[in-house]
């Protein structure tokens, strides 16, 4: 009799726990996941969207590394066209073979997606990553070092769940073979940010391009006619007395590039200071020459 009663109590306790605990998890956690995809063919170009569901919290920063098997998949690049990240801290880049790292911020924060035909949908697209299948097999895309921060002015981390995605690569006929991308990245502008007089940050060149076919793979810059070197925005500009040309080339993952240039003026402070110093030196030189000449003449007399 007592055993039956104990069973009843246990059942009530378990039910109560279930009822109370289930909604809490939903109310406070965020979820980072991949879009739906099960199967691709060898050589087929495909994409995975990275989605975040903030579970009704306002979030403003997302960062993670995506890990995959480089024997099975090749990373082709990314598209931020369908992205909720207006400001990238690190654009999605293959840091090492099989690891893509990214992080970005959303000024003002974000809570959900607005889909009028699917009002229950809450996951927000972060970025679209493009891949091809290299050979037959079964691989998993996973997240590492994932972080989602609340829009609370304190950088508080949310409780985060992550979901991996398994994709099988089959031999079948590919309907979407990876075609050669011949389109250059989109035109972009270069902005010069002047340094503040007492600040420690140098004068900076800021730029960002986009590429429909797979994102920007790298930027190369040339300063004052020098050789092109791989760099990333923002680029600290050297102090120069006179104006010089600053050129940026944005390369996509297929090797196409877009070139933009800007004439950087000589730095006002250093430029004006330099001119004054030169002027004083010239004056000094003239005075010295004139004084010497006069002294020599006087000595002759």
């Amino acid at each position: 009799m007592n055993q039956k009663k104990y069973k009843k109590i246990n059942l009530i306790v378990i039910l109560a726990l279930g009822i109370f605990l289930l909604p809490f998890k939903v109310a406070t956690a965020s979820l980072l996941e991949f879009s739906a995809l099960e199967k691709v063919s060898v050589n087929e170009k495909f994409y995975l969207d990275i989605l975040v569901d903030p579970e009704s919290q306002s979030i403003n920063s997302v960062g993670a590394s995506v890990l995959f098997d480089p024997e099975l998949f090749t990373y082709l690049g990314f598209s931020s066209k369908q992205s909720s990240i207006p400001v990238w801290v690190e654009e999605p880049k293959q840091e090492k073979l099989g690891t893509i790292k990214f992080s970005g911020v959303i000024p003002g924060g974000i809570e959900r997606i607005y889909d009028p035909l699917n009002t229950g949908q809450r996951s927000i697209p972060i970025v679209r990553l493009f891949f091809t299948g290299k050979q037959e097999g079964y691989g998993t895309f996973t997240f590492s070092d994932a972080v989602v921060l609340k829009n609370d002015g304190l950088g508080t981390t949310t409780k985060l769940s992550v979901k991996s995605k398994s994709v099988s690569v089959t031999k079948g006929n590919s309907l979407n073979d990876a075609q050669e991308d011949l389109i250059d990245p989109e035109p972009f502008s270069i902005k010069i940010i002047e340094r503040s007089i007492f600040g420690r940050s140098p004068r900076l060149a800021v730029f960002s391009s986009n590429d429909e076919g797979g994102g920007i793979e790298r930027y190369e810059v040339s300063i004052s006619g020098g050789p092109f070197k791989i760099s990333s925005s923002p680029v600290p500009l050297p102090y120069k007395l006179f104006s010089y040309e600053f050129i940026v080339r944005a390369y996509d993952y297929s090797g196409n590039f877009r070139e933009q240039k800007i004439l950087v003026s000589g730095e006002k402070i250093y430029g004006a200071g330099g001119i004054i110093v030169i002027f004083i030196l010239i004056l000094g030189f003239i005075r010295y020459k004139f004084y010497n000449k006069k002294r020599i003449n006087n000595e002759k007399i």
């Binding site: 306790v13 003002g108 924060g109 959900r112 035909l117 609370d152 900076l204």
Partner: protein, 298 residues
């Protein structure tokens, strides 16, 4: 059996269940008090209108569209409400005397829309982001938007017991709460006038320290821009301020893409300047970007 011997079953039953109930109730209250939820009083509804869709004429050379998005809601009387698509101002409308606005934008594909309002005194609201999926042949209708009040203070540092004046715009004749959160918490309750303005001069007799000041409607988690105030030994007027916003390295009292670029330069570097190290942990990482993004008003 020993258990049965100690006390009768009914008593045990009641004690166990009561303990579980008390524990769960405490946990429930704790979680609910700490959970950050969407605005309670603002009800943003979303829908799609299909059928007799109005053509959206974008003017000479712009063409007409059969798809788009309509944003409607409440800002402040005669406020300028702007919609941006990725840093580009797309359209600006003027709200009516009640603060109501409605904007119809032609668009055919997914977009991240950002809305903000500027009141008649030039004070800017916080940003509201709407990542929106659009369908060809549909008008996506996002209604019930409500901007939090705007807020400014005349000082950034106040000597303890000294007076501070805060003011802003809200909906007409609406109760507004202005909260000070820091070493202590204090909330002032005000009501806006028929033009939506509110203002108060109050003595600050709180403990010395850093405070974050926000204005919001009652039971609304959406707030004004967060302002930082120091209560200490001196009084500094806001217009004499050098810098009290994290990440504002060019001291223009605004957080914009310029400040983000400076932050990006110092990202991961050793010994960053104080102005970019928002949480003073001597490293610039995503947390600093998150803090600075919170104060964004560019």
């Amino acid at each position: 059996m020993i258990y049965d011997f100690v006390m009768p079953f009914k008593t045990k039953h009641i004690i166990v269940l009561s303990s579980v109930f008390v524990l769960l109730t405490s946990f429930f209250l704790y979680k609910n008090l700490n959970a950050q939820t969407l605005t309670e009083s603002e009800t943003v509804s979303i829908g799609a209108i299909v059928g007799s869709i109005p053509s959206i004429d974008t003017g000479p050379g712009g063409g007409t569209y059969q798809s788009g998005v309509r944003f409607s809601g409440l800002a402040y009387p005669k406020a300028l409400v702007t919609v941006q698509k990725r840093d580009t101002t797309f359209v600006t409308v003027v709200a009516d005397e009640t603060g109501a606005f409605s904007i119809l934008i032609p668009e055919t594909s997914w977009q991240l829309f950002t809305l903000f309002a500027v009141d008649t005194k030039g004070r800017k609201s916080t940003l509201l982001n709407f990542p929106t999926i659009l369908y060809s042949g549909y008008i996506t209708d996002i209604s019930g938007i409500r901007f939090a009040p705007t807020l400014v203070t005349d000082k950034i540092s106040v000597k303890r017991g000294d007076f501070i004046t805060f003011s802003g715009s809200a909906l007409p004749n609406k109760e507004v709460e202005v909260s000070f959160e820091g070493e202590e918490s204090k909330t002032f309750y005000l009501t806006s006038d028929e033009l939506g303005f509110f203002s108060a001069t109050v003595p600050l007799d709180l403990k010395n320290g850093e405070y974050v000041v926000r204005a919001f409607y009652s039971k609304d988690s959406r707030t004004s821009k967060a302002l930082r105030i120091t209560i200490g030994n001196s009084t500094i007027l806001r217009n004499e301020a050098t810098n009290n916003i994290p990440g504002d390295c060019n001291f223009d009292q605004n957080i914009t893409l310029v400040d983000f670029s400076v932050l990006a330069f110092w990202y991961g570097k050793q010994n960053p300047p104080k102005c970019v190290d928002a949480n003073s942990d001597r490293i610039v990482n995503l947390i600093d970007f998150s803090i600075v993004a919170f104060y964004w008003n560019g």
